[in-house]
């Protein structure tokens, strides 16, 4: 009797999981379905699960449409995401290492000063940050989109926590070999810290690629639009060509899905060790 109950419970759980998994996947399917459909298929009152024809030509049409600066916005997003990721990794890992491994009288004070900025939610500072960036004359420039986002207290915190748990023997050996802090860092520490670089890197990359509010505020000129801003301006426009919009959205998540699937293990590890709790 009990055995049957357990088995029934297990079956029920499997069914619930499969149904939920399908629900979670449907939005991705809709994106592809609409992106590869004709306008008529998308807006047909007789909704069908499969479109009547697959139009791969939609992709070319999107890039050929002169009213949509899509290629430019993709390029901007790629530049911003790569630069932000590399810059953040460099700055935050150096700072995290210094805070964790170089004994200095005021290290704790500096650390609390950095930690304190986590209390100020990034989204609330967009008005003040806009004021600063516009007074620097950086509105609608890639500089304005990248530089202010390079100093992630979160990334610094994760690196510090990671380096705190680093085995001291490695560094001791390096010191015996006569390496200073700088060369120890590059030759010994970095090669042994690849997992945390990968984890933080993917999280920062995803965040930079998907970020919306800051690029919307700073990218006022079309030439500085990111993919997210471009997509958003199409959705809120009066006249929309739906199939172009959907194929554009699908293209915008393609690079991320690649990064995501390659680095998923690292993202999970990074999320788990991100110091919450």
């Amino acid at each position: 009797m009990d055995d049957a109950l357990v088995r029934a419970g297990r079956a029920l759980r499997a069914v619930v999981l499969v149904v939920l998994a399908l629900l979670f996947l449907i939005p991705f399917y809709l994106l592809l379905r609409n992106g590869l459909s004709s306008e008529r298929d998308i807006t047909s009152p007789e909704w069908t699960f499969f479109p009547t024809e697959l139009r791969w030509g939609n992709v070319r049409e999107l890039f050929d449409d002169p009213s949509v600066p899509f290629a430019r916005s993709l390029l901007n997003s790629a530049l911003i995401a790569v630069a932000t990721t590399l810059g953040t990794l460099l700055l935050a890992s150096l700072a995290g290492y210094g805070l964790a491994r170089i004994p200095y009288r005021h290290a704790n004070k500096v650390f609390y000063g950095i930690l304190g900025t986590l209390l100020v939610p990034a989204a609330v500072t967009f008005v003040p940050s806009f004021v600063l960036v516009s007074s620097l004359g950086w509105v609608s420039t890639l500089r304005g989109l990248i530089v202010p986002t390079l100093f992630s207290a979160f990334a610094c915190f994760v690196f510090r926590q990671y380096f705190l748990g680093f085995p001291g023997e490695l560094e001791d050996a390096a010191q015996v070999d006569g390496l200073g802090h700088w060369r120890t860092y590059w030759l010994v520490v970095v090669p042994n810290a690849r997992p945390v670089f990968a984890a933080v890197g993917t999280i920062v990359f995803l965040g930079a690629w998907n970020s919306f509010l800051w690029p919307l505020v700073i990218g006022q000129d079309q030439s500085a639009w990111t993919v997210q801003v471009a997509l958003s301006s199409f959705t809120t426009a009066q006249v929309v060509r739906l199939h172009e919009l959907f194929i554009a959205a699908a293209m915008s998540i393609l690079p991320l899905l690649v990064v995501f699937l390659c680095f998923q293990r690292w993202i999970v590890a990074g999320v788990e060790r991100s110091g919450i709790d």
Binding site: W47, A107, L132, L213, D277
Partner: protein
């Protein structure tokens, strides 16, 4: 020796600390300064107005209304996300086959942006006309199409807004709960089995949930902070070429239009940002203290 260590400390930490100071502390202080000035369209104002911007903001029914919107939104999104991500974690954790598959599927939306998700929700699932998925489904049951995003009574837009965020972030919190579940010592479950506790509800209530307490506290804090930052999905779901409707404006959307909309009233916007930052700080610290107090009583 001590001076050399200080030197190297600043070589490593200096660039980051200087940048953080320039791009976080300086704007914050500048903003506090600006909030006392009449700053239309300028970042170097001359008209000192004292606390006028603050009183104007607090008397502004649209601003207080935006805080109410945030409260309603939080009341929906926090418990629902918490429950769903915990349930997902418990189920995925128990699955023996295809665990990696389910974990990936639920986590996959985390790679999607709010802009893209809002597009799918607005133009494909919850479209007000018949070709939207939701209205097609309703049509099969003979129900009339619903104008999801423009009906204020009953406010169907909450369903749209909450499900977008749920889809995007449930998998992320599921990962946190999974990590928490994996840290629970199996000995506890064995002891419970020896004591005759029936697997299922009893074990969940007396072992699993108490052991997940630290994770739950962190998840709750993150959920509330993130809800306060809501901007992307509201902006993309509700605004169109005509602008933003007067209902369902969370604080950040309201600030965005105040500071960067037509008037570019940066003084007023700064005052709003300061008020909002204070509220968030109070809520966060209060919540952290309250939740931690609960824990120390238990131990």
């Amino acid at each position: 020796m001590r001076r050399r260590r200080a030197f190297w400390f600043w070589v490593f930490v200096g660039p980051f600390a200087a940048g953080l100071a320039l791009f976080t502390y300086v704007p914050l202080l500048w903003s506090v300064g600006l909030s006392f000035f009449d700053a239309h369209n300028t970042v170097t104002p001359t008209d000192f107005v004292g606390l006028d911007n603050y009183t104007a903001m607090l008397k502004d029914s649209a601003f207080t209304g935006s805080l109410r919107t945030f409260l309603v939104f939080t009341a929906f999104i926090v418990p629902v996300t918490f429950a769903l991500s915990l349930a997902l974690a418990l189920m995925v954790n128990r699955v023996r086959r295809a665990q990696a598959f389910f974990r990936s599927v639920f986590f996959l939306p985390a790679a999607c942006s709010y802009v893209v998700a809002a597009l799918i929700w607005k133009m494909s699932i919850f479209n007000g006309v018949r070709f939207g998925l939701a209205n097609t489904l309703l049509g099969w049951f003979g129900t009339d199409p619903v104008a999801w995003l423009s009906t204020t009574r009953p406010p169907w837009y909450w369903l749209v807004i909450v499900t977008v965020r749920l889809w995007l972030q449930a998998g992320f919190y599921m990962i946190l709960f999974l990590a928490g579940l994996q840290r629970i010592d199996p000995v506890l479950y064995e002891a419970a089995a020896v004591d005759g506790a029936r697997p299922g509800w009893t074990v969940l209530r007396h072992i699993t949930l108490p052991q997940l307490r630290a994770t739950s506290v962190a998840v709750l804090l993150l959920l509330v902070i993130n809800a306060f930052q809501a901007f992307d999905e509201f902006y993309n779901l509700l605004s169109d070429a005509r602008g933003y409707p007067p209902y369902a404006r969370p604080p950040l959307v309201y600030l965005y239009y105040t500071a960067l909309g037509q008037g570019q009233n940066l003084g007023l916007g700064s005052a709003g940002a300061v008020i909002l930052a204070l509220i968030i700080a109070i809520v966060t610290v209060g919540q952290a203290r309250w939740l931690r107090l609960g824990r120390s009583e238990e131990e």
